[in-house]
Amino acid sequence: MNEHIVKSFEDELNTLTAECARMGGLTEAQVADGIEAVIKRDTALAEQVVGRDERLDVMQADIERKAIRLIALRQPMANDLRKTVAAMKIANNLERCGDLAKNIAKRTLVLAEAEPMTPLTRSIERMGRLVLSRLKDVLDAYTSSDVDRAVLVWTRDDEVDEHYNSLFRELLTYMMGDPRTITACAHLLFVAKNLERIGDHATNIAEIVHYEITGEEMISANRPKTDSLRA
């Protein structure tokens, strides 16, 4: 790609992408720590996650401000325009992921007071690892402009859904078997739902990356979708 004739424009665009990538790194860490906190019943880590969330909010607002400024002052066209809009949209998705990670961390504080439920925790851990790898893959796809990698994340969204559906059934079984576990199970169900949503955001980001690089939209009707919530 040739460089812009106006160098400061080039710098501003690069800054925007770099900040978005940095925000991605922090989001990944927040999600990873949120999952670890819930698995290890680590309330200190959970509180750290809750405390750090504000940084993501600030970064998101900052990226949005910079993108709006760039649109107003530079009138980006074509790939520059797509890059600018992509940064803004990805930052939004990351900010939502951060909120979900924070929510997972908050539930850790409650779950830590209940009896440990090891088999369920393992399922959460497996699902968490999967979601985290999706997020990591899609952020790598973004920073390396790797459209194939983004497409791969996008087409494999159903794996996360399958995990969620099976966890849902597992939790129902526990709750029916022993009503004393309902409080903890309800919280774990929200944790699972939050993870599933983070997976959705990773899929959104994959779509944004695809559009940024190719200028073409992906059509969601073509994506394999597991949609059975019946237990």
């Binding site: 040739n2 460089e3 004739i5 009138q75 074509a78 190719t214 073409e216 939209e217």
Partner: protein
């Protein structure tokens, strides 16, 4: 051109092939074709200015021609009403059709053609006559108006359509040159409209105007496109994006890419187009 672009689409992004993509905007214009250019080559003496340009210009739409200075866009514009005839040593090869009729055929009278295909230039060039006479001149020499009343009606209608009537109706007999730059440009557009053209060619019509006058002209262009086929040459990417429905990018005498304007400015197929509109070194 069409084939070129579709070809480019198919090869541009191999990764996108295995998933369906959204092609809302076909390369070919949707409306009826007003002007059809095929394999147009233009020479000024020994120097070739245009190379094998083929482009369809649709009816009731604004087509923007963009590209760096010397790319051939104005040369191509001038081909459409045979203004190149007036340049010594200029030769135009290839075929340009207006409603299916060859513009360069011997049967076509260039004077009549230029009434059908009007032109607005970069600098407003009102005649050194009154506002009224500027607009009345064309209908009179082409014998469009039969009487004074009809001529007055044409002048009023043309000035209204050019959005100038309200500003000049009480001083029609003052010189056209007494108007501001933006008003002069609208006067010249009114003059072009007065002979009921089918096509209006505009060669950087706003480059000498301030942003307000520019906005007025752009608004006017948008209104006029319902009745005319408009082709505009502009150096302003933003203007091309704002006023046109189709954009053609010229580079070094060649038509690189043509397509729906929103497509060209969000997702151009050719890297030369992309470099140009995003302000990169080509």
């Amino acid at each position: 051109m069409t084939a070129q672009r579709e070809d480019a689409q198919a090869h541009a992004h191999p990764a996108a092939i295995h998933i369906a993509v959204d092609h809302d905007h076909a390369a070919a214009p949707a409306g009826a074709i007003k002007i059809r250019a095929r394999d147009v080559n233009v020479f000024y003496g020994d120097k070739q200015a245009l190379f094998d340009v083929s482009l369809d210009v649709p009816e009731n739409a604004v087509t923007a021609l963009i590209g760096p200075s010397g790319c051939g866009k104005s040369t191509f514009l001038r081909c459409m009403n045979r203004m190149n005839d007036t340049i010594p040593g200029a030769r135009v090869l290839g075929r340009i059709e207006l409603d299916g009729e060859d513009l360069n055929s011997k049967a076509i009278d260039p004077v009549v053609l230029r009434a059908r295909v009007g032109m607005v230039f970069q600098k407003p060039n009102p005649f050194p006559k009154t506002i009224f006479e500027n607009v009345a001149y064309g209908p009179r020499i082409h014998g469009i108006a039969t009487g004074k009343a009809e001529l007055e009606a044409i002048v009023e209608k043309s000035l209204k359509r050019a959005g100038l009537w309200g500003e000049v109706s009480d001083r029609l007999h003052q010189p056209g040159t007494s108007l501001s730059g933006g008003q002069q440009q609208r006067l010249v557009i009114a003059r072009a409209i007065a002979v009921s053209p089918e096509v209006i060619l505009m060669d950087e019509p706003c480059s000498a105007l301030d942003p307000i006058a520019t906005a007025r002209i752009e608004e006017l262009i948008d209104e006029l496109r319902n009745q005319y086929c408009i082709v505009i040459v502009t150096h302003s990417m933003a203007q091309a994006a704002r006023v046109s429905q189709r954009t053609a990018f010229f580079h070094m005498g060649k038509l690189v890419e043509a397509g729906a304007t929103d497509e060209i400015f969000t997702n151009p197929r050719d890297t030369r187009t992309q470099d140009y509109i995003t302000g990169r070194f080509g």
